[in-house]
């Protein structure tokens, strides 16, 4: 392939990888800090996408808001949902074994899918990007690149930077990092660990849902979108190292490139490649690329 096409494929890979990072970062936070394997994480992504679809007309008619207003409303609702779920359900999972967590969150996936089916139905839906982002930029003579995808990548990068700043520069970030290394010590120092966990969980849910909302115009909104993203997210988290945001970013980008170029260069093996990558990395570094933090 010539250089300009190569660059465009790199753009594609970057965009896919960054979106994966966004969803996976929530998973690695919850996994790393609370030690909970949450199979239902993909469902939060799905909930975000369906919120983008379902809320848009409501936001439009109540106060004439457009895409960004819907995003903000959806983000707020997702935080509330995350807070509620942690209080009502997930807080009981902390002491349980991994197996039980797997089972209960698997049951939760089924519940979320059916609730979605009951509330919205099973049709495939499209979500429109806001008008000023719907154009395409010309790259080369035949190919144009959708502006919205560039916007998505920019958004993901800003969020990644934001997360980094929160973790390294704020008190909250410091408490979170401390809590993941030594829970009891942090508690005995007077930090309300329950509240901390609730905040982290709500953040994880909100980020995943936000990713779903942002991706909705590009990926469309359909049943099972949660399951598809879930497994890849686990791969990202495991390759990157459980609890490591830096690792999740690197792993997500790695997977984005392997998947994109794999689809083009080795279409028959493209599905397998990501898992081969994971197996190889784990055999080289059994704990993933980075340690937690």
């Amino acid at each position: 392939m010539d250089f300009s096409i190569f660059l465009i494929q790199c753009l594609n890979a970057l965009q896919y990888g960054l979106l994966l990072f966004l969803v996976a970062s929530g998973l690695t936070l919850i996994f790393g800090i609370m030690g909970v394997i949450n199979l239902a994480h993909g469902s939060f992504y799905m909930i975000g996408a369906y919120m983008a679809f379902g809320l848009a007309p409501i936001v439009q008619s109540s106060f004439g808001g457009g895409f960004f207003a819907t995003l903000l409303v959806g983000l707020f609702l997702a935080i509330v949902l995350g807070y509620f779920l942690e209080w009502a359900f997930y807080s009981y999972l902390y002491e349980r074994e991994h197996l039980q967590q797997v089972l209960m969150t698997y049951g939760l996936i089924l519940v979320f899918e059916e609730l979605r089916s009951l509330i919205i139905g099973d049709d495939v839906h499209g979500v429109s990007a806001p008008d000023f982002l719907s154009g395409s930029i010309a790259l080369g003579d035949t190919m144009t690149y959708p502006v919205y995808r560039l916007f998505m990548s920019a958004l993901c990068i800003s969020l990644a930077i934001g997360m980094y700043l929160v973790f390294t520069r704020t008190r909250l970030g410091m408490m979170i990092r401390a809590g993941s290394s030594n829970r009891e010590m942090v508690q005995s120092l007077g930090v309300d660990i329950q509240f901390l966990y609730r905040v982290v969980f709500a953040a994880g849910v909100a980020i995943a849902a936000f990713a779903g909302m942002v991706a909705a115009p590009v990926s469309s909104v359909y049943p099972n979108m949660g399951s598809q993203v879930l497994i890849i997210c686990f791969v990202v988290v495991v390759i990157g190292g459980i609890g490591s945001i830096r690792g999740a970013l690197l792993a997500a980008l790695l997977i984005g490139f392997v998947d994109t170029f794999g689809k083009v260069l080795l279409p028959q093996a493209s599905g397998v490649l990501v898992y081969v990558l994971m197996a190889l990395i784990l055999l080289w570094k059994p704990q993933g690329l980075f340690k937690a933090g």
């Binding site: 594609n12 049709d123 499209g126 144009t144 170029f261 279409p267």
Partner: protein, 409 residues
């Protein structure tokens, strides 16, 4: 009081702890097995009524198609006063979720548990293959109202298996002829990697290369993946004269939109099997304008038969009909034709099949007959998207018959 009771229990228990536990467990076991055993007894056919079992997708990507097929069938049934071939019809439904993995179980539910006389299904080719296999083994009459898997009227064909829709090969072949005639020399194909996609491209390739064209690249991605971006870049890099595609349902919506968003629509004309734009125009919007597709149905046929059908369908279901509704409607017509010939006695399989072999079905799509392999021999129309409709431009292929390769009937 509680203590006394407790003591009494305590004295009795030691000798019989184990036994009580075993009895409790055995009882639980027996109960559950009895329930399982009772379940077959729940569904028995009522006297005199013909039991028709629908195995269609009522949930998932193809739910709208499943509902349209059932609606079409019911429309014809109602037009005949609830009777087909003189016999009253009872309908049973199973949701196949478009999942080939559960297909055999679901068909067995209809055939072994509900004891249906006739099977109608389905949309997804993979599921239809499982249905065909079970129907072939059990001899139950099966009418396929959509799934185009070539094998159903190919190596899997049987005297009791019929199709009211098409074979994947047909619309592809018709489009191959069209694109060769239009003078496109180099074409790229893109589809999902499953039976429907592969067979559609194969049919297309056969006619197109016979007409002097060359397929320079065949792109595919796993079903039901809709991340087309990387492959769209590939298409742009290859710079073909045109692109032929097969996608259906949600994937078709996304592909058409992504194709336009990538700027390819202006420079590289997109053609497809009709499912690309059938039932999807509302969601695709302006991105679908001008697209050419081939299918055995269109929105503007304007024949008396089609107008009457469309009017009745719109009145009854408050929806516009599509090709899936027509196929469901014709499945009912086919069943009626066969049943009339055997005077309602579905067990007369040979006469049933013989009657359908010579039947002329008066369909909203135009009249069609069944080929030797029980697949419709029908006209394929070249359509273009104008406004929110698939308008007929011409007849792409008249009386196109699927070759039924591998069918030993």
């Amino acid at each position: 009081m509680r203590q006394a009771l407790g003591q009494a229990f305590q004295q009795v228990k030691p000798a019989s702890t184990g036994k009580r536990r075993i009895l409790a467990r055995a009882a639980a076991c027996g109960f559950t097995l009895a329930v399982a055993g009772a379940m077959p007894a729940i569904a028995q056919s009522k006297d005199g009524k013909l039991k028709v079992g629908f195995m269609l997708p009522y949930t998932g990507t193809f739910a709208a198609l499943g509902n349209a097929i059932e609606n079409g069938f019911r429309l014809h049934l109602n037009e005949q006063g609830g009777k087909l071939g003189g016999r009253e019809v009872e309908l049973v439904k199973v949701d196949d979720e478009s999942d080939p993995a559960k297909a055999t179980d679901n068909v067995n539910k209809l055939i072994k548990r509900d004891n249906v006389d006739v099977l109608i299904g389905t949309v997804h080719s993979g599921v239809a293959m499982a249905m065909a296999k079970v129907a072939k083994d059990s001899g139950t009459v099966l009418i396929v109202p959509n799934a185009g898997a070539d094998a159903v009227t190919g190596p899997m064909c049987a005297p009791n298996i019929f199709r009211s829709s098409f074979s994947n090969w047909q619309p592809g072949y018709a489009m191959g002829e069209v694109m060769a005639k239009k003078g496109h020399k180099r074409v790229v194909t893109i589809t999902w990697k499953y039976a429907a996609g592969d067979e559609s491209v194969r049919g297309f390739k056969e006619a197109y290369e016979k007409g002097g064209g060359k397929v320079i690249k065949e792109l595919s991605l796993p079903f039901p993946n809709v991340e087309f971006q990387a492959l769209l870049t590939e298409i742009a890099a290859t710079k073909p004269d045109a692109v032929y595609t097969f996608f259906a349902g949600g994937g078709a919506v996304k592909f058409v939109k992504d194709y336009a968003a990538a700027g390819l629509k202006k420079s590289i004309p997109l053609y497809g099997a009709g499912f690309l734009t059938d039932g999807t125009l509302e969601a695709q919007g302006a991105d679908a304008d001008g697209l050419f597709t081939t299918l055995h149905y269109a929105d503007s046929l304007a024949s008396a038969r089609d107008n009457a059908f469309r009017l009745a369908y719109a009145k009854t279901f408050k929806l516009q009909p599509d090709v899936y509704a027509v196929q469901g409607y014709d499945a009912a017509q086919m069943l009626a034709a066969g049943l009339s010939a055997v005077k309602g006695d579905i067990s007369k399989k040979a006469e049933f099949a013989a009657a359908l072999k010579v039947a002329k079905i008066d369909s909203p799509r135009g009249t069609f007959t069944l080929g030797k392999n029980h697949n419709p021999v029908q006209d394929f129309y070249l359509r273009q998207v104008v406004g929110k409709e698939n308008k007929v431009i011409s007849v792409a292929s008249k009386g196109l018959a699927d070759p039924g390769r591998g069918c030993k009937m």
